[in-house]
Symmetry: C2
Subunit: 137 residues, 2 copies
């Protein structure tokens, strides 16, 4: 255990701003909006939108969170190794969001895009649904 020190803790070390934004999303488990995150973290020292957006950008890049485009919100990633791929169901009635498991998607996605001259680099899939409980009531 002597010569592996070269690639350091880069991968596990988030900066302070990245860490507190990630923690908030982690604890919430729900999609949150950037300015809500800002408000929530005022007491932790976040003062400007840019501090939030920068942290969010980085966390998205690392695949730790996802952006749900159609509601301008960010949510913790529940899969491992999504990279930047996202797939969610969003209940049209109650707004509840659930991430679709990676393993449920593998294969199926590329089948959807029949043109094999294209190379899919990532995807963003948003399924609007009636969730179980909204369907009943």
């Amino acid at each position: 255990m002597s010569s592996t020190h070269t690639h350091s803790k880069k991968s596990q070390s988030l900066t302070k701003n990245q860490r507190i934004v990630l923690d908030l999303l982690q604890n919430s488990g729900e999609p949150l909006k950037a300015y809500f995150i800002l408000d929530s973290l005022k007491k932790e020292g976040l003062n400007s939108p840019l501090q939030v957006y920068r942290a969010l950008d980085k966390l998205v890049e690392l695949g730790k969170i996802h952006k749900i485009e159609s509601i301008n919100s960010f949510i913790i990633c529940n899969n491992s190794n999504c990279a930047k791929n996202t797939a969610f169901t969003i209940c049209e009635r109650c707004g509840k969001v659930k991430e679709i498991k990676n393993r449920d998607l593998t294969g199926g996605v590329s089948d959807l895009v029949k043109d094999n001259q294209l190379e899919i680099t990532r995807y963003n899939l948003e399924f609007y649904v009636l969730c179980k409980s909204c369907k009943i009531n």
Copy 2:
């Protein structure tokens, strides 16, 4: 041809604002942003964002155009009967957008969402790709 007059031409008649916005998107064939549409149609008498957004909302509702959420843009629908479902490929390099044909999706989509207690009401699928020509160059 006497007693069918009750449900009139409602379905084909767009208002002036809806018409000029639709025409612009039709002629362009590319995704356009709301404020670009506004600028382009100043000479036709559009003065405020709201006039554009109202027309866009209606056209989306009618299924004549789609919103591409991740780029805040609107594009003419190339399918018939998409309803509000959207599926696009977007080239990460050149930005070119193509709508995926309905018939390529049928069936496949619901397979992706394994939880059959959910009822999919509509979907928004955005596949980021390298398009043919960007892949070569």
